[in-house]
Symmetry: D2
Subunit: 336 residues, 4 copies
Amino acid sequence: MIIILKQNANPEKVEILKQELEHKGFKLHLSQGTQTSLIGLIGDTTSIHEDWLKAMDVVEDVRRIREPYKKASRSMHPENTVVDVCGQKIGGGHFQVIAGPCSIETREQITQVAEDVKRSGARLLRGGAFKPRTSPYAFQGLHEQGLDLLLEAKKATGLPVVTEIMSAEHLPLFEDVDVIQVGARNMQNFELLKELGKIRKPILLKRGLANTLDELLMSAEYIMAGGNENVILCERGIRTFETSTRNTLDISAIPMLKQKTHLPVIVDPSHASGIRFMVEPLTLAAIAAGADGLMIEVHNDPEKALCDGAQSLTPQMFDTLMKKIQRTVDFFRILD
Amino acid sequence: MIIILKQNANPEKVEILKQELEHKGFKLHLSQGTQTSLIGLIGDTTSIHEDWLKAMDVVEDVRRIREPYKKASRSMHPENTVVDVCGQKIGGGHFQVIAGPCSIETREQITQVAEDVKRSGARLLRGGAFKPRTSPYAFQGLHEQGLDLLLEAKKATGLPVVTEIMSAEHLPLFEDVDVIQVGARNMQNFELLKELGKIRKPILLKRGLANTLDELLMSAEYIMAGGNENVILCERGIRTFETSTRNTLDISAIPMLKQKTHLPVIVDPSHASGIRFMVEPLTLAAIAAGADGLMIEVHNDPEKALCDGAQSLTPQMFDTLMKKIQRTVDFFRILD
Amino acid sequence: MIIILKQNANPEKVEILKQELEHKGFKLHLSQGTQTSLIGLIGDTTSIHEDWLKAMDVVEDVRRIREPYKKASRSMHPENTVVDVCGQKIGGGHFQVIAGPCSIETREQITQVAEDVKRSGARLLRGGAFKPRTSPYAFQGLHEQGLDLLLEAKKATGLPVVTEIMSAEHLPLFEDVDVIQVGARNMQNFELLKELGKIRKPILLKRGLANTLDELLMSAEYIMAGGNENVILCERGIRTFETSTRNTLDISAIPMLKQKTHLPVIVDPSHASGIRFMVEPLTLAAIAAGADGLMIEVHNDPEKALCDGAQSLTPQMFDTLMKKIQRTVDFFRILD
Amino acid sequence: MIIILKQNANPEKVEILKQELEHKGFKLHLSQGTQTSLIGLIGDTTSIHEDWLKAMDVVEDVRRIREPYKKASRSMHPENTVVDVCGQKIGGGHFQVIAGPCSIETREQITQVAEDVKRSGARLLRGGAFKPRTSPYAFQGLHEQGLDLLLEAKKATGLPVVTEIMSAEHLPLFEDVDVIQVGARNMQNFELLKELGKIRKPILLKRGLANTLDELLMSAEYIMAGGNENVILCERGIRTFETSTRNTLDISAIPMLKQKTHLPVIVDPSHASGIRFMVEPLTLAAIAAGADGLMIEVHNDPEKALCDGAQSLTPQMFDTLMKKIQRTVDFFRILD
């Protein structure tokens, strides 16, 4: 971390700052330029917040050199993390497709979709019981009853299940859930992240609509700092000025995250676009860019879906897409 | 709401859609253009989600004509809402300044700042006990103990207090708090919003970093739909491509919200800029643009602050600023 | 186009508006809702600007139903446009790679790179003579001399050349250039676009950093309205809040543009990321998403490049990448 | 400037880099941390582009310490620049209002508006003859004829005139124009900026829709590096995700630019909002935040305006607003 001092900084105050930093265990490296004086901090700066330094009267600005996360950082853990979900592995060369409806609606719907996506080759089932909806007047999910139906579908098909949690209070209901999803709107719900750090279940952490990759990794760090290192990151589109797609899929996030972290990275092409015809090209692009998996919405009757029907595939469309996914994954595996 | 049909839409499917819409109680208005056929929905479309319609095979696109919120809408409630906090009124011509430290650190700190800001003319005290921090290694607030210290400062000064909640589970701890703040990162923590709709305390709802004004009003609607109409909206800067300020204060949000809603709108110039020297110009601009109040960070020793020191004013700076605030509020009151 | 009238609109003024619209040749379709009255315009609304209507006292808002471009629109021209550059076809199933250095520096450099990229399979040579640089103190390109060197490299290799124009005044210098590029910063330099509409050379039009897809198509429309229908669109990354990549490649732009327009769409992965190691994953993703071509920066000595060395590949890296590109294009050709 | 070396950087290559930097005249300051080695450059780094360094094999990243502009920088020129337009001063405590129609339409229109705004207290007249329009089918301005009409209005009223240039080729037509405006879409039309650096007329430089403040200052630097130091900066709203206003007025830009540069900063509230009722609050906010002037659209018959009628004030509205502007400017002058 580099501290840029003000040109007219009071030398006594600078001295006090230096002592304080040395007292915190840093070695200091001073540099005197023609216009600018700098202090370099040598040591682990993870626990230092730039704002603390910026508040100082003598400090003009601060530049961080090392990333502010440790457990999520690839520089600390060069090997890829492989997350194991009931025997299904994600990351480190293991590619998985998570599929299912946006929200669980009826026993018939979730079981039918579960059987369909399993037959097509998906290895995990998704389905929402607690739905974060912009409008209080929109369908909010079936809650406990929805989780029960999801677990029935799990029993019927043997597929491990992924479903979203919206409050730490609901954790007891998620005991038999295999992967707990943190939605984009809760990526910085830090109280929830801390609770998820206390368990050992895999967590699927979606990137917030306006969060940088470093912030995503800091949220992963919240979970990992608690002791739960089973974190799967999910890029699902960010908010930009472009309005013709619901969100803008940040495809660059895949290789950039792969460089910054050892955690698996999957992509949700359904939410990224919000439009059915774009799911296939974004799916193939995600594989090409190096994603470790996909999360795709499938509904047995999208026109009647209570949520996100516009972006859901029918089981038949999904089946066709899965064949392309499998061939594409195989192709890129041998391309390297 | 206007439904744009696809050019080659199957007439039978269109007929089914029309029947379904009529069944939901809408009157339909059909329009046949040279290239485009439209269906206009006449009736209350608040409960209709565009996505449900966009999922239809025959639908090309949907355009909403009326805003999707009711209770928060000025068109339904032309009169300004005045929120009363222990006798301090906000909105409808009543201007208030909320001041205090980013986070509560010690008894001395919060009580000292409370006395200082009261003397300078603030009518509500802020202070964070639960702090949403990007890094798990940053100071997270004093939690219950912090709330206790805040309530002591309330008792000592008589100032009503405003403090942030991060999880519905903590609600019992907030019984003696006067205004509960929902932070930017929790603006779409819908489970929390629903719980806050069940109580009758004023809620200070901050706009999310990447949320539109309509989304902010939908989050207010969550609280109001539950029965709690004491909502104060707070603009605190949005995330843009500009990096020289921490956030971009959306000053236009003030007049635009005033047109869309009857709820009071306040501004947080401290978080919007993240830099001390910008607090004054943004404060004065917010008053000029018609804000109903301000929320300003004040710390007795910003250089030692555990959080956000770089944007905190000293009590002395705040005192000088309060004099300007009062004169500016008075000036604009008579300008109209 | 749908005009939403104010609730208390003066009936006489509405009548005048209606007559004016009918006078312009539109058929009107009126709709009276419970709260809202609408006027639908039937006819070609391309020449109507929403702002003109929004300025009316009786108008609350305007919603466009049809896209505001004609010649660029796929709904008017369902067949893919194939642009022919000296026999090299782009679009409609024809995939091309344009490669070369960011800027032309010396005869040796451009000729060497031209020979290298030709040997690797590139079919067009790029190289900048006029360089748009943020800083006036940065290398601005060799101008006329650079164009001469580029044309020498063209003669030596037979590769058609692509180079950027920054002002219509320079057009005479571009007589022997095969494809004229309009850079992102000039996407809305309308005077330049109009001049390019008067010639018949293919134009490579890059999307502006903060321009929507509809704006990109309106800029293409400027060129096409002048009579030059040889327009190639190029996605090169947009500006967002994310700072770990130089720009955010909008991969969704490819399928979305393909739906909106018949023009070929290529991708520039070098500028999109700004970082060498990301060029390959973004290249492969672009092919997977359906791009018609790529534009890739190659430099014989990136460490000595006068511009954008950080994102340039060496000829050897490019050769390896071209082999992957060819296999990937072939793979996706048979996947469908 | 700080160069961060890769952990495994080849020592011989690092040595070569160091020699190259010393050869360029920099003194080097080396720092060896636990994980990271840094090279600090001491000297004028304005001419060094980060990308050149990032292209090096041994370089991981680069952090700039000093701003990349010189002539525009306040650190080099602490005194406020005052731009003099025919005796009307802008900057350094001199506040001016520029008013007039979006585009010049007829002799009657421009002369009438000129007389009206002069009577209300505007000291400069604006009016567009060359109009940058997103659509090629929209009114493009009257060009030469428009400039003639503007100059007639100048003669009739004595008001100096401000009008936009869209291409350096048109410069000869602007000989009698008093202030040449560079529009947002041409802020990085570097060929145009260079030409404007060769003349001595004041230039009103508008910030691009997606340009940072540092980029705005680099564009000012282009003009100033050519020798023309009469540059007035104009904030006119930036592009964000918010869609309820046309643009987002970045009010923070005013105090931030004032700190970074000595150039005058004005605000265009008309384009920033795009909506008439928002012009007043944004105008007052701009004054409160410290702007040196305003640019406001006024049209004698907004409902018939060929351009931007929705945001234009009538002369009567403008007259009312000018009274408020004058009182507000006076109020803030004595507030400090």
